[in-house]
Amino acid sequence: MIAEIGRFLIALAFIACVAQTVLAWRGADKGGRGPAAEAGRAATEIAVLAAGAAFLLLIASFIRSDFSIAYVAANSHVDKPLPYKIAGAWGGHEGSMLLWCWILALFGLGLARIGPRDAALRSRSVSFQGLLQTLFFAFLAFASNPFERVFPAPIQGSDLNPLLQDPALVIHPPMLYVGYVGLSTAFAIAAAGLVQRSGGRELAGALRPWALAAWTSLTAGISLGAWWAYYELGWGGWWFWDPVENASFLPWLLGAALVHSAIATEKRGAFPGWTVFLALLAYIMSILGAFLVRSGVLTSVHAFALDPERGVLILGMLGVSAVAGFLLFALRAGSLGEGDGFEPTSREAFIGANNLLLAASAGVVLTGTLLPLIYEALDLPTPSVGAAYFNLSVNPLLLAAVVMMPLAPFLPWTNGGARPGLAQMKAAAMLLPVAAVAGLFIWSGAPLLAVIGGAVGLWAIAGAVMDAANALPAAKARGARLSASGRALAHAGVGMIALGAAADASRPPNIDTNLVPGEQLEIAGRVLTLEGITRADGPNYLADQAQITVSGESSGTMQPERRYYPAADQTTREVALKSRISGDLYVSVGEARIRDDGRTAFEVRAQYHPLIWMLGWGAIFVVGGGAMALAGRLRSQAPVRGASPAAARMEPAE
């Protein structure tokens, strides 16, 4: 019965989305007030409630292990621990699509409640959001029903992929989807603004907080995925330039460009057309990502098991959204107004350059990701494009962007009054050679790109510290202070990520060997001894646990495991980590083999990852910085009692 109710709720939500699109459109025609706009708003609530209830029912079916539902049977098992039963609700295609749709509807509700101030623009963007919702809810209802019955019902279920039974992976997809899907609001507001012939500045101001929220969440989601790959996949990498990773990196790059260009447009009217174009493109890249992950067209690390028909449908949604968005843009971009002039050494110019570099990076990533598909379509032999391509082509572009990043906050807007703080500029510029020398010193003997990356990372961190020291005392209002801190924090985080990535690119030691209990290996000044292998079975798996003692620096014991999940008939590795400020010691254990002398040896992989925590903390800083900037922005947007609008404009939040 639950399945039938769930199905009904999805259909109800779909109808509510159609109603939302039509009613909010009519409402916008009437200036955003009146019964139609109100009804459109009510429709967003129905869509959220219905989709949310359907999602809860799906979770309930997982908790009850109702294997008469095909999706539950495919992604759960009676013996699975409860948190992972619940996580199974978004561990596969249909359930994650339901989550996607629900988040899409939530953003629709958000736009209706706290969307653009102008009522007509708000109602129009609710209508566009409704259109995007309608597309995905139709896909859910007609091609990806998570409540499909299976007969006869299996008794046990075929288990969630053991690799996904991990805390980071429980929250990774929801975070990622809030990011992907959140970009839809930027699309909806941009498209609505084009229909309404809104000015570029007003539009950039309306969409900036939404883009910032989405991009921050996307950053968190991607970082969680990288962290998971590092410690769960058991071979010590965190980013592989896999097509599916690229699929999330594309909207991230464009989102990063958008949150910066929207500042320049809102504050100084610079490049309004570009900002609106980016807002449209970023969400289209999100849909492209969904297509790449869910259609099975690419050989990928994370692809969902395949269904070409679904791929075609997602391609259809991609086409509808892209044609609608770009057609509107082509017809109406003129009404956004021309950008104001700016000096080449102004903050606008630097933001523009940063946007160019980020967009070029996105173009290069897109080329490498889609090239195999293009070859295939032309019936040529299909190549795979490996990490070497991306490292060589994207890294220089991103490094250039990070070199410019710390300078921009010291530059004035073109018509901002004050001349460049030249002394500050000089002091900042002095940091570059200092950082370069420090970088060389730290990574002497490392590959060139690692040295440059390390120096640039230090440069960015130093710049962010100076920015904070410079901007915080000057900021009077709480909102401005929050915004400035957020900016400095996020920029410092980017520097830390560059530094951590550079350390990782300096070819740290990696030993793959096999050991008989009692044997040793030596890595990074430490001696690891395999003492023995013991059984350590869990609730739904069998495990061999290696007992490894470490002597030398960071002595102690490490217990990596090799787990076998009978339900899924899969083996996984549980990595053991010893984290210090200097870096992580990383050990995993693999299969057993018989040596020529008859003794049993176990594969042991030992790695040392210098400064890897920089990546994790860097990501946390970027996310925290994004959240602070958002909070500051919302605060300075709120009407201040007693302050005239002109006074509020005197001290803009960054």
Binding site: A70, G92, G234, G237, V293, A305, P381, S384, R605
Partner: protein, 164 residues
Amino acid sequence: MRKAQRRLWIVGAAGLVLVAAGALAMTAMRDAMVFFYSPAMVAENPPEPGVRVRVGGLVVDGSVERPGSGGANFTVTDGAGEVRVVYAGSLPDLFREGQGIVAEGAFERDGVFTASTVLAKHDENYMPPEVAEALRASGHWQHGEGEAGGYGGEAGYDTPPGSR
């Protein structure tokens, strides 16, 4: 600054970045593109020794040997040809006889394929698209194989080091 002058700046900067990005991408692509060969293609027209390629197929039952010193050797087939793969690294956790895998590396002069990376998907229903295509081409595709269910989780190739 005058409007025309400013336009010049913007167009110049954009052009510069685009040219740089294009040049970077082209140079990088030349080294990084790796083509897929099915065992049948290898039998017909083997790639030059030393050229990096990908080879994929089903792991032949009983063909896997694990030397005491480490690594693993095995044979992949698409029904129309066979390739012997020598691999010094640690096999992915879900490597199995009868399963579809993709190996990246280069052929030696004696026709043995030395792999630096072996990819196996963590989902027994999953078949790398190239392998599925190769099996179809050689007529060894069984209907439903690798497409079972149309469900399955987000999953991972278990990729050993050396692939980056």
